[in-house]
């Protein structure tokens, strides 16, 4: 089978709240897929199911056998007892993509190798969490609002590490990026999934042109399409 990650009629509820109902979607083998949707529509649950941190109530989540997964959580989830460098080093193994120092220097933390998380600012901790996920590498990279709280310049610097090529993550991995920022999604994605919910449903899949075809005009057209779906104007047609 050609998939790396596939949701097959997946259902997931928390008590009475149905978050996913017969959710059916096959993700492409590689490329950056942005998940755009309102808060609480079920994006994080989708990532947690993909990461095997939640079990579906019904249906199945298929991951290609031997798939290695890396993740940036909504929270930093750093180990307070370890330095910045050791926080990355501790996750590294035979399949890891980059050395810890390279990733830390790439996100502007070259001078903070020996700092402990409690000695770092919120933005530094966020960058450390991102550097850890990139250094660990993997076939699927799950990013849950990874750039939240970073200023514009830092965000650009970090994005260069995570997405070295337009529309592609490092090592040709499949990357799922949960974001509320349309410009962020347009800047790095190959596909954008416009979502509504709960229960979560895909309203529209936007296939973004790459290379020279990615003109300002095409991006403007996409902005309009995203705006109309997200504001619910076209919900009757699309969702």
């Amino acid at each position: 089978m050609g998939y790396k990650l596939c949701f097959n009629m997946v259902g997931k509820s928390y008590g009475d709240k149905v978050v996913l109902q017969e959710f059916d979607f096959s993700f492409p083998r590689q490329g950056v897929v942005s998940l755009l949707g309102p808060s609480g529509c079920g994006k994080t649950t989708l990532l947690r199911l993909a990461a095997d941190l939640e079990q579906p109530g019904s249906g199945q989540v298929f991951r290609k056998a031997g798939t290695r997964l890396s993740m940036v959580f909504q929270e930093d989830r750093l180990l307070d007892v370890l330095t910045a460098e050791d926080n990355i080093q501790v996750t590294l193994g035979p399949g890891s993509r980059h050395p810890a120092r390279f990733c830390l220097e790439s996100v502007g933390l070259g001078d903070a190798l020996h700092l402990y998380p409690q000695e770092m600012s919120g933005g530094m901790k966020r960058r450390l969490a991102i550097a850890r996920a990139v250094a660990y590498g993997g076939d699927i990279l799950l990013l849950d609002e990874p750039f939240r709280g970073l200023d514009h310049e830092t965000k650009r610097q970090v994005m260069r590490l995570v997405f070295p090529e337009e529309g592609l993550a490092d090592n040709g991995a499949l990357t799922l990026l949960v974001t509320h920022d349309v410009e962020e999604a347009l800047a790095v994605s190959q596909y954008i999934l416009l979502l509504q919910g709960p229960p979560l449903r895909v309203c529209r899949v936007l296939d973004l042109p790459l290379g020279e075809e990615r003109s300002q005009a095409s991006l403007d057209a996409l902005r309009i399409a995203i705006g109309s779906v997200m504001s619910g104007k076209t919900e009757g047609e699309q969702c």
Binding site: F73, L79, V81, D86, V90
Partner: protein, 263 residues
């Protein structure tokens, strides 16, 4: 600058400690003057002098050494048993349901009942070890169980995503979460082991024991000896606790030091 602040804080702490000690010694001395009968209460100076005399003889150290050994054996075996029990009950709920009433019964039963029972079951030399063990196990179990329950679930999820080995998970997540609880268990448990083991020695009077000395002092109405031994017990208990906490701090540094990348 920082060093001088730390030094001055230490000096202040030491000064405050000495002032408090002087206050209570004064209260003791006033009580001695007020009662005026050596058989009921002795002066702190007489008790200290007697303790010094005792400490110059070999039998004192033989008794102290034997009691210390019993306390340490009882305490260490309780640490291991309590730790294993905490791990198993945190992992398997049926075991928690099975063991928690038993441990609650042990916690609420008077230590004297266990000492008398233990005297029937085992030789007098083993009674203090068994009693120290029995009294400390629930304490260690309760503390470590709480520590395991407080291990951050978000970090455990992170460890799952990044495929931490069980050993790495233990070192990076469980040990740091457990350490404050383990330290508290050791600190209170060691004091408790002392008290209960000496109480067991007083009733079981095994050879070469502080408890036997206290028992003899009571039988022969040697109140000065009784006070001297009590001061000795307090001093040794405090020293043992300090040593234990120091060793724990070293253990923690060793366990967490150079953790990055190594399994």
């Amino acid at each position: 600058m920082m060093r001088s602040i730390i030094k001055s804080n230490r000096a202040k702490k030491l000064g405050a400690g000495l002032a408090v000690a002087c206050f209570w010694l004064m209260v003791w001395q006033l009580a001695y003057w007020h009662v005026g009968k050596e058989i009921l209460i002795v002066s702190p100076f007489h008790a200290a002098r007697r303790l010094t005399e005792l400490a110059l003889g070999l039998p004192f150290w033989r008794s102290v050494g034997a009691t210390c050994l019993r306390v340490i054996i009882g305490f260490l075996t309780a640490l291991v048993a309590g730790g294993v029990l905490a791990g198993l009950t945190a992992r398997f709920l049926p075991l928690y349901i099975l063991f928690s009433p038993l441990l609650n019964v042990i916690k609420s039963t008077p230590v004297a009942s266990f000492i008398i029972l233990a005297l029937i079951w085992i030789k007098s030399g083993g009674v203090p070890v068994f009693i120290a063990f029995l009294m400390v196990v629930p304490m260690v179990w309760t503390n470590l169980y709480a520590g395991l329950e407080h291990a951050d679930p978000e970090l455990l999820e992170m460890a799952r995503v990044f495929q931490f080995s069980p050993w790495k998970k233990l070192r990076c997540i469980y040990i740091p979460a457990l350490m404050p609880y383990f330290t508290a268990a050791c600190s209170t448990g060691l004091g408790f082991a002392w008290k209960s083991a000496v109480a067991a020695e007083v009733i079981a009077h095994p050879e070469n024991s502080i408890g036997l000395r206290i028992y003899n002092a009571k039988i022969y109405l040697e109140t000065t000896d009784l006070f001297a031994w009590t001061i000795g017990i307090v001093l040794i208990s405090v020293m043992l606790e300090r040593i234990a906490l120091l060793l724990l701090a070293r253990l923690e540094r060793r366990l967490l030091g150079g953790i990055g990348g190594r399994d």
